[in-house]
């Protein structure tokens, strides 16, 4: 009997192929949308973490209050001791000092006169220590367009767009004109070792990246840093862990009465990223839920249509002496089979499509033209374990529920009207 019914299922394309296609398409779309939303939200969070905020950040209380102004006069001092403490007490994280700074870059001609000038946003990171992961984190080598990684003293990389605008070449001298930590003018000559393009509009407009040692010297910030960033070793932000580390550190080392005492904040405490994450999670959840719900209705309808289409077949089977319960069960088994096959195909295609978008992404640089958010110009999907089952479950269940509801008609059906119904 099972073989007989299975044979019928295989042969009747409207009973098998069509619903499988519908289920597959629904599951593909659900899987892709889920992976895409995940990729978009993750990209914003991780992009900001790597360049700007870390998973945890330590600054002075005063610096934190006006951090958007990059107040290096309120920087952390005795950074080596603070780093030692952080590395000893918060071992899950890798700690690294950073200095952000604004200023102007001046490109002199052969006579020493200004040839070109432009405003820059500067990033100083530990580029030359033996075990530093800053190159990997900031993806400098990966982003190089011309030249080489700044491995020598006073070497810098600047954004390729900026280099073009200034008509500066590799090996040329560029003078940084900024404000020192003491409020004086900071002037320092650097050599451009390379140009970079990160694919983030906020950085590619005019970034300068230098080793932190050189910038400390240039800005009178000996053993000082604007901020110390902490990155969880697996590279993924963990809200719970970050919050508990923040609470422990602030309890032990922060003094609300001293504006120069250190303060630890999490990624979510900075630049509205917490609100963003809440919004992203809610929006993502709502969008995916709506989509899954809509797909469930479509698939349910497919189950219903399939049930209604088989009214005659069910009538004949009842007349032959098959019980209503047996017919109902066989229809449910068929729907689970269709759901499983469709969901499997859909999930595989959906994951493959998501992998494609994870690899190649979509260029949204024009949308973020004037944004300061560290968002990649190319937004990519992110395939996770969830991508494999997010569409699979509703695919199977929706088909099953659709058939289950349409099948209730079997029990309601008055067998007394069978002759009449089957004579249509």
């Amino acid at each position: 009997m099972t073989k007989f019914l299975f044979l019928g299922l295989l042969r009747d394309k409207q009973k098998s192929l069509f619903p499988i296609i519908i289920v597959s398409v629904g599951v593909v779309l659900t899987t892709w949308l889920y992976s895409w939303m995940l990729g978009v939200f993750n990209e914003v969070i991780e992009g900001n973490a790597r360049f700007n905020n870390g998973h945890l950040k330590v600054t002075t209380i005063a610096y934190n209050e006006i951090s958007s102004q990059i107040p290096n006069d309120l920087c952390l001092t005795e950074v080596d001791k603070l780093l030692e403490t952080l590395r000893a007490e918060h071992k899950e994280y890798e700690w690294t000092p950073r200095i952000k700074f604004g200023g102007m870059i001046d490109v002199p001609d052969e006579t020493g006169e200004t040839r070109a000038q432009a405003p820059i946003i500067g990033f100083a990171a530990d580029l030359r220590s033996e075990f530093s992961k800053e190159n990997e984190r900031l993806q400098i080598s990966k982003a190089l367009v011309k030249g080489k990684f700044p491995s020598q003293s006073n070497e810098i990389v600047i954004s390729d767009v900026l280099a073009d605008n200034l008509e500066i070449n590799i090996g040329d001298v560029a003078t940084l004109i900024g404000v020192s930590a003491n409020g004086g003018m900071a002037i320092h000559n650097f050599v451009v070792s390379g140009t970079v393009q990160f694919g983030m509009t906020a950085l590619d407009r005019g970034a300068l990246i230098a080793d932190i040692g050189d910038v400390q010297y240039a800005m009178d910030m000996e053993n000082a840093a604007g901020e110390i960033l902490g990155f969880l070793k697996n590279g993924m932000f963990n809200e719970e862990l970050a919050t508990s580390n923040k609470e422990i550190f602030n309890k032990n080392h922060s003094d609300a009465g001293d504006e120069f005492s250190p303060l630890m904040v999490t990624l979510l405490d900075q630049e509205g990223l917490g609100d963003y994450l809440i919004y992203a999670k809610s929006a993502g959840g709502i969008i995916v839920s709506i989509f899954v719900f809509a797909m469930s209705i479509v698939l349910w309808n497919t189950g219903l249509m399939s049930g209604i289409r088989r009214y005659g077949e069910v009538g004949v089977r009842l007349a032959m002496g098959e019980t209503k319960g047996h017919i109902y069960k066989s229809m449910l088994v068929e729907s689970v089979l269709i759901g499983l096959v469709g969901s499997f195909i859909g999930s595989m295609i959906g994951v493959a499509v998501s992998f494609y978008f994870q690899e190649y992404g979509i260029d949204i640089s024009s949308t973020f033209k004037n944004s300061t958010l560290m968002v990649n110009d190319v937004i990519r999907a992110k395939v996770t374990a969830g991508s494999y089952y997010i569409g699979f479950i509703p695919g199977v269940l929706a088909m099953l529920f659709g058939t289950a509801i349409s099948g209730i008609g079997i029990f309601r059906r008055q067998t007394a009207t069978l002759f009449k119904e089957l004579e249509v």
Partner: protein, 231 residues
């Protein structure tokens, strides 16, 4: 009820609720159909033919009175018992054949046997024999869409008789057939009735069918107005 009495109804009444009232489809019908009969319930539309056939086929239950089919009281059966009765002892032939389109002729005829969990080799023998009875052995692999109306109805007959039921209930079996095919079908059924001893009960107002009947039970407004044995 004697051993040869397959169907017995006593004061069988069937009413359907219509609005706040009841429509009486059958009024105190007393009837007895014996084994091997070739009987027709005849009468105009609305006379209660199909209702009577439904009750005999355990597809519906009486409102009052009782109907016994093969010793089982229809009014006291639940769905599963009714399905079992249909599965084991009753065959149905419909006006519009109702073959399952995705299965071939052989498989359509095999279907009732699968419900009875008959083993494969025996099933094959029974199906082949049924197809021989209706003269369609060479069409075993054909799909219903490849058959003529007459051939389709013969497949439906084979499906009804393959399990060698005690009773075959046929509702207007020739309604969609031309005269030649109708006669062919009816002759097949007469032969099966004579050779297998299967009781045939028709619901019909087709004169061609009526001419083959050996007993005519005439219904009018839910009552038996005539019950004639044809010699």
């Amino acid at each position: 009820m004697t051993a040869s009495e397959l169907i017995v109804t006593k004061k069988l009444t069937k009413q359907y609720p219509i609005g706040g009232n009841f429509f009486t489809a059958l009024r105190e019908v007393d009837l007895c159909i014996d084994q091997c009969e070739f009987t027709g319930i005849v009468g105009p539309s609305g006379s209660g033919k199909t209702t009577l056939l439904n009750i005999i086929g355990a597809l519906d239950a009486p409102t009052n009175g009782n109907a016994k089919v093969l010793g089982s009281e229809i009014g006291k059966m639940n769905h599963v018992e009714a399905a079992k009765l249909r599965n084991q002892y009753l065959g149905f032939i419909f006006q519009t054949y109702n073959l399952l389109p995705v299965y071939n002729v052989f498989e359509n005829v095999e279907f009732p046997l699968l419900l009875q969990h008959i083993e494969s080799s025996k099933r094959v023998d029974m199906v082949n024999k049924a197809l021989e009875w209706v003269g369609l052995s060479e069409k075993a692999k054909s799909k219903p869409a490849q058959l003529s109306g007459g051939e389709s109805q013969r497949v439906a007959i084979a499906r009804a008789i393959v399990k060698q039921p005690k009773i075959v209930l046929a509702d207007e079996p020739t309604a969609n057939l031309d005269a030649q095919n109708s006669h062919h079908i009816l002759k097949t059924m007469v032969t099966l009735n004579e050779e297998l001893g299967t009781t045939f009960v028709f619901s019909t107002h087709d004169e061609k069918v009526i001419s083959y009947l050996r007993r005519k039970i005439k219904l009018s407004d839910g009552e038996i107005v005539d019950d004639t044995i044809v010699n």
